[in-house]
């Protein structure tokens, strides 16, 4: 189990007893998180799932100090997010990409948009250039560097938002429904780049409503009404259909199919989560009679 092995290392992020309530007009606080404990190890790939209103986006915004806990504490590489001296360092370490990339653009040319963040770090010219080149290359935007962000496709825009964050050299990337509004090609592009970044050692926390996407993470954390309801590998979390449905969630479609098949063909394995696993499982057993 990769996340257990990872947990032995120095955590990248540690969340302890965190509560958060949004202030509201009547003075009545609306609780969004009600006691969350979570540890994220360097290089982990976590999917954060949960029904609408369970506190996922709130948690994400707490992790990079955009919001501060009402009570409890969060440390990023040992830096307390509530300590204003660490604000810059924490935002550099924890990069965020949101659902609508347009909200993150600041410049009228792709290349300048990518350079905007690192420029403000006062880096030497050479280092700045190297970072921008690297970010453009990883996201496949090198040939579009002189375009206007407004004239990019949906997938390209989201890649640009990603490039801007990568140029800050973060150690963890938080994706808040970053692919939910993209067309299939755009979604594949972004997911391929994220997988590649993860292989290169970046930690990923992906918030998603697509269970088939969550099935591809190393670890799945389920939030429900502001608390962590489940935390484990995809095969642990996604085998409990009843529990997930009671939490307003579901198992990935391939897990449903595997269960339906298992009921008719007893030798069929119960744990299949992705289409690729389904293809492999069927090929292994096809035409075998009583193998």
């Amino acid at each position: 189990m990769p996340h257990l092995a990872g947990a032995a290392k120095q955590p990248l992020i540690r969340v302890e007893g965190v509560h958060f309530a949004y202030p509201s007009a009547g003075g009545l606080a609306v609780p969004a998180l009600r006691g969350v404990d979570l540890t994220i190890a360097p290089g982990e790939y976590i999917a954060l799932i949960g029904p609408n209103g369970s506190g996922k986006s709130t948690l994400a915004r707490l992790l990079n100090g955009l919001l501060l806990p009402t009570s409890g504490r969060i440390w990023v590489k040992g830096m307390d997010t509530a300590d204003p001296r660490f604000r810059q360092a924490i935002r550099r370490t924890v990069g965020m990409v949101f659902q609508n990339p347009e909200s993150q653009f600041v410049a009228t040319v792709v290349e300048e948009d990518v350079a905007f963040g690192p420029e403000n770090l006062g880096l030497p010219e050479e280092e700045l250039r190297a970072r921008v080149e690297w970010a453009l290359q990883v996201t496949g935007l090198s040939s579009l560097r002189y375009r206007s962000p407004a004239h990019l496709s949906g997938g390209q825009k989201q890649r640009l938002a990603l490039a801007g964050v990568l140029a800050m050299r973060p150690e963890v990337l938080i994706l808040d429904e970053a692919t939910s509004m993209l067309d299939p090609a755009g979604r594949h592009e972004v997911r391929r780049i994220v997988a590649q970044l993860h292989r290169a050692g970046l930690a990923i926390l992906s918030i998603t409503q697509a269970m088939e996407e969550a099935a591809e993470a190393e670890r799945v954390v389920v939030l429900y009404e502001g608390r962590i309801a489940l935390d484990g590998s995809p095969s642990e979390v996604f085998t409990d259909v009843g529990r997930l449905q009671s939490l307003g969630l579901d198992v990935p479609p391939m897990a449903h199919l595997a269960r339906m098949l298992g009921a008719r063909v007893p030798s069929f394995p119960p744990v299949v989560l992705t289409p690729a696993q389904m293809v492999a499982a069927v090929r292994e057993r096809a035409g075998g009679g009583c193998r």
């Binding site: 609408n52 997938g155 409503q209 199919l257 339906m260 063909v265 289409p275 293809v279």
Partner: protein, 284 residues
């Protein structure tokens, strides 16, 4: 049967006559008949949103024709308010556009704008809230900000239904909702459409969603209709979809891969139940 919506060789160009002009539609034909859910798929930039905005008169055709229940949108004498009562349009993430403080007020906004008498407005708000699974007794006086994302989206839908449209035009109606919210909204829409003389136009990037919901579908690319047919016909041609940056439903993908590996399986499969039958055959 007489179509509810007819679109003939529709063309549309943004910023026409300027250096920034962009052609969005290059001759689109589409019909919507009563009783059907028409799926609309296409990559970003294929012209889907531009087409949707023509269906309720937010855009007027520059060339070609759009006719809604006999009303020609190219005719400047056509009353667009009448068209908009016939065709309700729900944009992406419509829950961001709720603006009244209380649920019932938000649902009532449209009918009040149309100057309907108060009793009629009350009756419509009630019907619309029931249709989206938000019983007025429990929800009418709830503040909109205190609802979940799924509830807020259903409030937005109720606001459109309160105008009593015959056609609903939906842009990514299920995106961003949790699985329970998606299941609920999909079944509410199906129920709404099952009533006499109604139809839905459903645009989505989720092929699984369109495969499950649509009776017939259109594939749009670069401002043209590339293919029209049933989901089974269109998703049966995986190459065509992939070529246009789209996808096939997950079960279709699995069976296609198995067929390519030499297993004797059908590939025109859309639902988990069908896939289960086919796979059982090769596993026995």
């Amino acid at each position: 049967m007489k179509p509810l919506i007819e679109v003939h060789s529709l063309h549309y160009t943004y910023l026409r006559g300027t250096p920034l002009e962009t052609v969005a539609l290059r001759g689109v034909d589409l019909v919507v008949y009563p009783g059907e859910v028409v799926g609309l798929v296409g990559p970003t930039g294929s012209g889907k949103s531009t087409l949707l905005q023509h269906l309720n008169g937010l855009l007027r055709p520059q060339a070609g024709r759009v006719v809604v229940d006999g009303m020609d949108l190219g005719d400047s004498r056509t009353d667009l308010r009448a068209v908009r009562r016939k065709v309700g349009l729900l944009f992406q993430s419509p829950e961001d556009q709720l603006f009244e403080r209380y649920v019932a007020d938000d649902v009532a906004y449209g009918p009040l704008q149309y100057g309907l008498p108060p009793e009629e407005v009350r009756a419509r708000v009630r019907r619309a809230m029931l249709a989206v699974g938000l019983p007025p007794e429990a929800y009418a006086d709830r503040p909109t900000f205190a609802l979940s994302g799924g509830e807020r989206r259903r409030v937005a839908l109720a606001g459109v239904l309160a105008l009593d449209p015959q056609v609903l035009v939906l842009d990514e109606p299920l995106a961003g909702l949790d699985p329970a919210g998606r299941r609920l909204l999909a079944s509410l829409l199906e129920e709404w459409c099952a009533q006499e003389g109604r139809a839905i136009v459903w645009a989505s990037h989720s092929m699984d969603e369109v495969a499950r919901s649509a009776d017939r579908m259109y594939l749009l690319a670069e401002g043209r209709v590339i293919r029209e047919g049933t989901p089974r016909e269109i998703f049966g041609d995986a190459e065509l979809l992939l070529e246009h940056g789209l996808d096939v439903p997950a079960v279709t993908w699995v069976l296609r891969e198995l067929a390519r590996a030499g297993l004797p399986v059908r590939t025109d499969v859309l639902t988990l139940e069908e896939a289960c039958d086919v796979l059982e055959g090769v596993l026995r």
